[in-house]
């Protein structure tokens, strides 16, 4: 196991027992608080134990180690200078472009190199730096990790400890509207690729003492930081333990994206349905936190995971709470109807035409027969051809640049469809069915659920063509059993539909007024039930 809490506990305990060496750039003497700092997240205790090269007191030895550790790294900058009034030989190491030059130059190099700075009581009177976050390290592995993460390391001649300054500043993206989850009335901020900025955004939404953050490091080479955020008094501790165990059990090279992490920690890998919400919106993450769910932020990825999720949470959107509740209820119902249409419509079409034509009224049946008259293919082949063509167009549309994308939409949708009908390859009704299905599948707010529906359409069509309406019923029973037997981190996936919870129904198919939602939904097992109740102002005597 990569990240055993056992090893780390021992390291913590040993940290308090280390001999107190006076630190050159920080504090006059050893203080208990300064010595008892927790383990830095970028130092791997297991690797230190494997390779315990200590930082030597000689500057030249350290520089030789640096050149050995970073061969062929032209972006490694080694700035040698004389620090402090006693002109102690010093070297500052950092990777170019991973650091914030301003902070480095003004707040590290300038005070150290400036002889006019008043002498401090430090080791060899080396002045203080004006950087906020300073750490001291004793092992070479920590120095290497720190340099690789954009921090700068200061070596002083004769001092067996090095100082690490928080000067990281890599290229960052400005905060924009998330593309896949656009909202009409919500905030237009989306998460970015820097984990600490994402946490800062979440703290802006929930400036509460109870918001706790648990940090983990994943991946041997990637060293991706992963944070679990939750509200201490609301979230269920057993789910937290389960989540932490699953994250701790991951032993891979690197976790590149949130999607990969989601696949590692979810319960049922083989199911087409997603069991964890992946979102890019801070406001949606915040509302899930308030319901007692856990948010997993992955460094270098703009999506966060929200766990545990149930089937109906994939039909909820943050816009539902900004619009009026009647409209929001209507749109929620529309989404469920769209889910059913996207899943069943092509299959129902095939079943009704091939097997159960007595259900269709006579006039409609005649017009369908008329339009299908020239088509040489059976309904299944016709449907498959159209659906696969639509899927190809959709995938192509993702990668096309914007102006061509619009044109292809019109060209593909209208012209090719019409031409195909006129050539007699497909029937008119088929084009309508396929178009309606496509529109319905775009209504689902969650991309994962939408793709699940797109995938499940095809086996449904196959069963309909083999067994008619009984095939559709059997497939839907199989799907229903599959959904209700799934768990997401220990909570039932089908809740609040099965097990049926009347209380949670206030926010499932309809969105009842916010005044009526004074408790949190039960599906997340919150330990504190009541959201804060609005106090009525005292009635004035009339």
């Amino acid at each position: 196991m990569f990240f055993r809490s056992g090893i780390l506990d021992r390291w913590f305990r040993n940290a308090n027992k280390r001999p107190n060496v006076p630190n050159p750039a920080e504090g006059t003497g050893p203080s208990p608080q300064a010595d008892a700092d927790p383990a830095p997240a970028y130092a791997d205790s297991a690797q230190i134990r494997a390779d315990p090269i200590a930082i030597s007191a000689s500057l030249l030895d350290n520089l030789a180690l640096a050149n050995r550790s970073f061969p062929q790294a032209p972006d490694l900058v080694i700035r040698r200078f004389a620090a402090g009034p006693q002109k102690t030989p010093a070297a500052l190491l950092y990777l170019d472009n991973l650091t914030d030059k301003n902070a480095l130059n003004s707040h590290v190099l300038r005070p150290l190199m400036n002889a006019a700075t008043p002498a401090s009581g430090n080791w060899k009177a080396v002045p203080y730096t004006t950087i906020g976050n300073v750490r001291k390290i004793r092992y070479w592995q920590e120095a290497e990790d720190a340099i690789l993460q954009g921090l700068s390391v200061l070596f002083l001649e004769g001092c067996p400890e090095a100082n690490v300054f928080e000067t990281s500043g890599w290229p960052k993206r400005p905060i924009e509207d998330p593309q896949m989850e656009a909202s009409l009335k919500g905030a237009h901020q989306g998460f970015v690729e820097t984990g600490s900025q994402n946490i800062a955004m979440l703290r802006r939404y929930l400036p509460n003492r109870e918001l706790r953050i648990a940090e983990h490091v994943l991946g041997r080479r990637g060293k991706t930081k992963v944070w679990i955020l939750y509200l201490q008094d609301v979230a269920d501790p057993s789910i937290l333990r389960e989540l932490q165990n699953r994250i701790a059990a991951i032993d891979v090279d690197a976790v590149v994206n949130t999607g990969e992490l989601a696949e590692y920690i979810e319960d049922h890998n083989g199911s087409p349905f997603p069991q964890l919400i992946v979102t890019e919106r801070p406001d949606s993450a915040m509302s899930q936190l308030l319901q007692g769910r856990f948010v997993v932020v992955v460094d270098r990825s703009p999506s966060v995971i929200i766990a545990p999720a149930t089937f109906t949470t994939f039909f909820q959107n943050v816009d539902d709470y900004s619009t009026r509740w009647l409209i929001a209820s209507f749109i929620r119902l529309l989404r469920f109807a769209a889910f059913l249409i996207a899943l069943f419509l092509p299959a129902i079409y095939i079943a009704l035409i091939s097997f159960n034509y007595e259900v269709i009224p006579l006039e409609l049946f005649l017009s369908i027969a008329e339009s299908r008259e020239r088509v040489p293919f059976p309904p299944l082949v016709e449907a498959f051809m159209m659906e696969i063509t639509l899927e190809m167009m959709r995938e192509a549309g993702i990668r096309l640049p914007a102006p061509i994308g619009q044109t292809i939409g019109i060209v593909g949708g209208i012209v090719i469809g019409q031409a195909a009908v006129q050539a007699g390859i497909v029937s008119n009704i088929m084009v309508i069915v396929v178009a309606t299905t496509a529109i319905a599948s775009f209504i689902l707010p969650s991309y994962d659920m939408g793709t699940a529906v797109r995938l499940l359409r095809f086996p449904m069509m196959l069963m309909a063509s083999l067994f008619g309406i009984i095939g559709i019923m059997i497939s839907s029973i199989v799907l229903a059993i599959h959904v209700i037997s799934m768990q997401s981190l220990g909570t039932p996936y089908g809740s609040p539909i099965a097990p049926f919870r009347w209380h949670d129904m206030k926010d499932t198919f309809v969105r009842l007024p916010l005044k009526m939602m004074y408790n949190r939904p039960r599906s997340t097992h919150p330990t504190q039930d009541r959201r804060l109740k609005m106090k009525q102002p005292p009635k004035e005597p009339s």
Binding site: N356, V359, G468, I472, I474, I481, I484, A498
Partner: protein, 340 residues
Amino acid sequence: MFTLPGKLADHAGTDGWICIVLDWLLVCLSGWIMLLTLRKYPSLTLPELLEQLFGRWLGKLLMLLPIGYFMLIGWFNLATTSIYIKNWFLPKTPPCVILFLLAVPGYMIVRQGPSIHGRFCELVFYMSIFMILLPIMPLAQGHWLHLLPVVKEGWRPILDGAVHTLNAFAGIEIILLYYPSLQKKRYALHGLLAANTITLIIYLYVTIICFIYFSPDGIARLDQPLLILMKNVGFRFLERLDSLALAAYLLVIFTALAPAAYSATFTLSRLLGMPDHRRIAAWYFSAIVATGLIVQPTWKMSLWWEQRIVNAVLVLLPFVPIALYVYVWGMEQVRKRRPG
């Protein structure tokens, strides 16, 4: 449920709806007595209970009875359903293919435990409850006069009809297997009464509508009056609703199949000492599909087996709970007298 009005009319004329009420009373009493026995051993499953009451070897021998009974019920359920599907939807499909189609979701649900069965039954209830509105439509063409006079031929035919249609209510014995998994055992009696009453209401509703719609003599000759009734139901945009209704009823059929098959496979797996019942469930469903290969289920065969099941239920429902309770009570008396 589809053949119920026909059989009632056959035995009791249009007073058949009284038979349903009598059946309901009997089943409620029978379930209550079962609960009285089970309350004394709240966390023992049926195999463990039989072993405790009767000793290891006699207990294992007695386990064969519920195994045989539930296996028969499960097979009968699937075979009858395949006959319905073959007659109404897929006449040319070989019966083993239909049985395989039915066995796949059957296996999927039987391999889960009782809590998932509960969720599934609840979900199916909410999804199919709207179908109750469908038979209202032919009501306008019915004659309420068919129901009068009440008790026209005396009580004898009514009792006869009640005896012969008892298997319509016969699901109550799964209490013996699901009781240990209940979380709120205090409400077991409430649940039992509620379930039976819902069944009563639905059967009464269907039977009375059939009696009103069809002529009193003609209905006794019909095999499946409810489906024939539904043939006349239609909207402007959907003509034949009975195929859709029968297809939707498939959901409800699985709620009846799952507990029976689970009871059988669970008990058999405990008899053979296996830790869980999933492999036995796989074998069971494969065996059912295989019987479809060998023997083609026909309506006549279904009626014959139904008769056997009715006889079994006639023994099971009234007498077995009483016998069990008397035995347990007797053992308690003996145990009380022993130290003293």
